[in-house]
Amino acid sequence: MDRWFFRRLVDRVVRAACLVATLVALVPLFSVLGFIAVRGIGGISLDFFRELPRPVGEPGGGMAHAVWGSLEIVGMACLFAVPAGVLAGVHLAEFSDTRFVRAVRFAADVMAGVPSIVVGLFVYAVVVVPSGGFSALAGSLALALLMLPTIARSTEELVRLVPESLREAALGLGVPKWRATLHVVLRTALPGVVTGIMLAVARAMGETAPLLFTAFNNRDWSEGLREPTASLPVNIYTYAVSPYPEWHEQAWAAALVLVTLVLCLSIGARLLAGGSARAR
């Protein structure tokens, strides 16, 4: 066989294999999204975002408290985890080879692998029990612990990708190291850092197990950060395991809202961070 022909044949075959593999990977993604959309869209109405759940048997009602509860818990978790995670990541990248840094990096990797329910139990033991009850704050803390290693490690990787020449350019201009690190290195890595944060947020948004032990749930609006608070994933769980068909529909609707929320947050954050960095 002619070599030229053979090479083209191999090229075609490999291309086709890549295409098939891509489609196989996309099928579950789109079937999940499609399935949730189809099953959930029926339960979505303005009331879903405005009203509280009604008692069983009574039609209508919504999950406004869970939507806001989720945003509140995850938002507060970000307040803890983002600054700590990003700065820790910068430290890991900039002072990369001390024994301390290697220990922290190892600890972060181990922490990233800890099952989320274990983190929930831990917060239950050290926060919920001593403070006397479930609270949004405890839920945020549990989620923050889950987000922290992801954010720190992804920030580290991205800060490392910033070329040494930019650091030197800034230092050579008489810029102190801390300013060079924040305004040049971190700024240049920002779009990637934000993507890392969003991955952590998306994961935290969907976590159910740790919230069962910490924020628990609430049939009503939460009265404060120190009170049990409803969240979308816990509500999905509660409604989905219930025996009532109308609750099942609500659970599907909540799933759709949760997915859409994560998607919007990701896209929004990407746009914000990428806005001035598209120059690259």
Binding site: S165, L166, A169, L173, P176, A180, H183, V184, S276
Partner: protein, 281 residues
């Protein structure tokens, strides 16, 4: 490109035709030096890469530093603005006098030294997140300094770097949208905007094509009137074209330093002659 490039290797086009004036072979102690190094040694960890350099850099002159790869040229210029110590494990001993002040004395802030001694690097490195204008102002912006006359300063620096006409209509574009040669001149403008007294250039043309190189060299001719310039180069023709004085480094030692035309036509040391005639390096 120009007839200079095709000239025979040893034909020297000196920037100033004063070869008949008595050559100041080694600047004696009386010659006022902008920068003077005394027994300058530099280390990476335990490896000593500069073995005691005594060299004077005069104001309003271009000093070229030549020598084979790994001879310590870059390390030398990087110790003149305390950039050497940025590398983990790197340190310096000896004295570097900037206007008779030791920049390595206890209590001297390296950040302050770097504002007086500007640096242009081998590869153009504009900040990708900043516009052309903000790249020029980077030294001020990154230090949180606001200037009322920022626009004037930008224009002035870009004019000095011979870039103004090419970029004046797109100052808000990203610095990285420029070509390689323009980026390098942008980096020069960025250094000039801080109004340094000395300009260090570490192989500023090695990533540029011949046309961009010629522009940067013209620029060095202009800048010589104001600044003390040290340029590291692998290209001996370039040293011959732009430098008043040339210092030849070999294996971490300063072999000789003299007026460029002397180094290229009547070197005192055999090693210098071997290098510039291409016998090694």
């Amino acid at each position: 490109m120009s007839d200079r490039a095709s000239a025979p290797r040893l034909r020297v086009a000196t920037p100033r035709d004063d070869s008949r004036t008595p050559a100041r072979s080694q600047p004696s102690e009386e010659v006022p030096a902008k920068v003077r190094t005394k027994a300058l040694r530099a280390f990476y960890g335990k490896t000593e890469v500069l073995h005691g350099i005594d060299l004077a850099i005069l104001a309003r002159e271009v000093t070229a530093v030549i020598g084979p790869s790994g001879c310590g040229k870059s390390t030398f210029v990087r110790s003149l603005n305390r950039m050497h110590e940025v590398v983990p494990g790197a340190r310096v001993s000896g004295t570097v006098l900037l206007d008779d002040e030791d920049i390595y004395a206890v209590g001297v802030d390296p950040v302050a030294v770097r504002r007086r001694v500007g640096m242009v690097f081998q590869k153009p490195n504009p900040f990708p997140t900043l516009s052309i204008r903000d790249n020029v102002l980077a030294g001020l912006l990154l230090n949180g300094v606001a200037r009322n006359d920022a626009d004037g300063l930008v224009e002035q620096a870009l004019r000095k770097a011979a870039l103004w006409d090419e970029v004046k209509d797109r100052l808000s574009n990203a610095g990285t949208s420029l070509s390689g040669g323009q980026q390098q001149r942008l980096c020069i403008a960025r250094a000039l905007a801080l109004e340094p007294e000395v300009l260090l250039m570490d192989e500023p043309c090695s990533a540029l094509d011949p046309i961009a190189t010629a522009r940067v060299e013209e620029l060095i001719h202009e800048l010589r009137q104001t600044y003390a310039i040290v340029i590291v180069t692998h290209n001996m023709q370039q040293a011959a074209r732009v430098a008043n004085r040339t210092a030849f480094f070999y294996m971490g030692e300063l072999v000789e330093c003299d007026r460029t035309e002397v180094v290229f036509t009547r070197p005192k040391e055999r090693r210098t002659e071997d290098y510039i005639t291409g016998r090694f390096g």
